[in-house]
């Protein structure tokens, strides 16, 4: 199981602008559900609160009000039921790829040969079995993010939370990793909630796209593309893809200020 529920999640913080205290509403009563095994994309313009929502779901930040539950259990902090993939991978630069994956497992209490074997298993899953002894700066951006994904998956979380995981990569590497993520999802059936600002990525990968505007839920768009989505090039050219993409585009622009 791995169902994530956000119920009326709000986040306010105080900001001092030119000496005056302003209350900023980063999130305003945001509610949505990610069902077990589902991939949900969280999309919206910069500053709409999508990353804040993800960080609250991870337990890295606390909500001002409202609640996040994973399989009915309230989130009060970080936990091994959730694995986080960071925007720039955020590998520890002094550790090798293998040690980076082992780090999470060690925190979970794994020791001995199981530690090495499990880490190797997940690095193999992301196609990095040959580069395990390299340090992050000896890896390309795409390889770094593969390690980041392996590190999060290795602790066997119920839910994978990803913060613009491919946003910093070049277009070709991004497409490769998108396909790999779909492949990993097909094999592991993990629930995935990911933040993106890339319309195509949201529609290609997700079952449903949660569109946010100004900290609020704008619309939840279902993606009717069937799984498995093996041939991404073909999907990109399909009418269904174009229609869904246009639908999400409209939702993204519905709340935006119009230009005159």
């Amino acid at each position: 199981m791995g169902e994530v529920n956000l119920v009326d999640v709000s986040k306010r913080f105080a900001l001092r602008i030119e000496g005056e205290l302003h209350t900023v509403r980063a999130l305003d009563r945001l509610s949505f559900t990610v069902r077990d095994g589902e991939i949900v994309a969280l999309i919206g313009p910069s500053g709409c609160g999508k990353t804040t929502a993800l960080r609250i779901a991870m337990g890295l930040e606390a909500a001002t009000s409202g609640a996040v539950t994973v399989d009915g259990v309230a989130v009060t902090g970080c936990g091994y039921d959730r694995g986080m993939v960071f925007q720039h991978a955020e590998l520890l630069p002094w550790l090798t790829a293998l040690q980076n994956v082992e780090f999470g497992l060690q925190m979970k209490g794994m020791r001995g040969t199981a530690l090495h074997d499990t880490a190797m298993k997940y690095l193999t899953l992301v196609g990095l079995a040959d580069s395990v002894k390299r340090r992050p700066y000896q890896l390309s951006g795409g390889m770094q993010q593969r390690v980041g994904i392996a590190r999060a998956l290795a602790i066997d979380p119920k839910v994978l939370l990803m913060d613009e995981p491919f946003g910093a990569l070049d277009a070709q590497t991004r497409e490769t990793l998108q396909a790999e993520l779909l492949d990993i999802h097909a094999r592991t059936q993990k629930t995935i909630l990911f933040v993106t600002h890339d319309l195509d990525e949201a529609v290609l990968l997700a079952d449903r796209v949660v569109v946010m505007q100004h900290g609020r839920l704008q619309e939840i768009v279902a993606v009717p593309l069937p799984r498995p989505r093996d041939d991404l090039a073909k999907i990109r050219g399909s009418a269904q893809f174009a229609q869904t993409r246009y639908h999400v585009w409209q939702a993204l622009h519905a709340g935006a200020p119009t230009l005159h």
Partner: protein
């Protein structure tokens, strides 16, 4: 897949002769600079009264004398003992203290001001008081060296902790790492370059502290040779320990640099800096 490891082997080759941008080895530039300075010094030094200055040749002669009669070796041993203790304890105390001040706001609020103030403490003025506390011998010398060198080490470590990317701490938190583990396995390695910079800066201050202590407490060691020679207007002999200390500081600096590359080999990859 692009093999980025090639860059590292290239950097390793560069470490030895280190050709600069125009193909001239780094060491050659440094050596040429030293030769020019020594030659100028020699020419000027021969034309002035030996009380006001000594040319390198006279200093070298004085150096040979001091080595022959064993005074230099004895003084060096005398100086190095409090130096090693004072500087060593400063590292052992300054690094953990800096880590704690940087990581915990209570410690920062309570101790930060003392460390910042302590860095600017006019230590020479406090030497008479330190003599009352520690006497005139080994202890007071180690104490002066300790007080001179702990602050740059502590402040650098503290600043280093402050500059650890928040996202790396988030990585630790997301795997439910306890505070102590985050401090040891994330903050400490991320801070290492700053710690090493502090330890390097402290070499110079520790050397100054050592000479101050030897001047103002019981006259001994290399500082003792300096002050005795100066009192006898033997300028050439006075310069021997001064230059020796400078050479030793440069050597120690290079040694710490080597050590840093050993314990933090990833740092060169991140910063892409020249190896010195």
């Amino acid at each position: 897949m692009v093999d980025i490891v090639d860059r590292e082997s290239a950097a390793d080759e560069a470490a030895g002769a280190a050709p600069g941008r125009h193909g001239v080895p780094r060491l050659a530039v440094t050596a040429a600079s030293l030769v020019v300075i020594l030659v100028l010094w020699e020419i000027l030094g021969r034309h002035i009264n030996p009380i006001f200055g000594a040319p390198p040749s006279a200093i070298f002669a004085a150096f040979v004398d001091l080595v022959r009669n064993g005074k230099l070796a004895a003084a060096l041993a005398q100086s190095l003992q409090p130096f090693v203790v004072g500087y060593g304890v400063a590292i052992a105390v300054g690094v953990p203290l800096g880590l704690i001040i940087g990581r915990f706001w209570v410690a920062e609020a309570a101790l930060g001001i003392l460390v910042t103030g302590g860095y600017a403490m006019p230590l020479v003025a406090l030497v008479p008081l330190l003599i009352l506390w520690f006497g005139l011998g080994f202890a007071v010398k180690a104490a002066v060296i300790f007080l001179m060198s702990i602050f740059p080490i502590c402040i650098n470590t503290w600043l280093g902790v402050k500059s650890v990317p928040k996202t790396l701490i988030d990585v630790g938190k997301s795997f439910v790492a306890p505070d102590a583990v985050i401090l040891r396995r994330i903050v400490l390695p991320a801070t290492l370059p700053y710690i090493m910079a502090g330890i390097r800066l402290a070499v110079g201050r520790a050397v100054v502290g050592m000479v101050i202590a030897e001047f103002f407490t019981q006259i001994s060691g290399l500082g003792g040779i300096i002050i005795n020679a100066a009192n006898n207007f033997d300028t050439a002999t006075m310069f021997v320990p001064i230059i020796l200390l400078m050479v030793m500081a440069v050597g120690l600096n290079a040694l710490i640099g080597r050590f840093e590359r050993l314990v933090a080999p990833w740092q060169d990859e991140i910063a892409g800096r020249d190896r010195d």
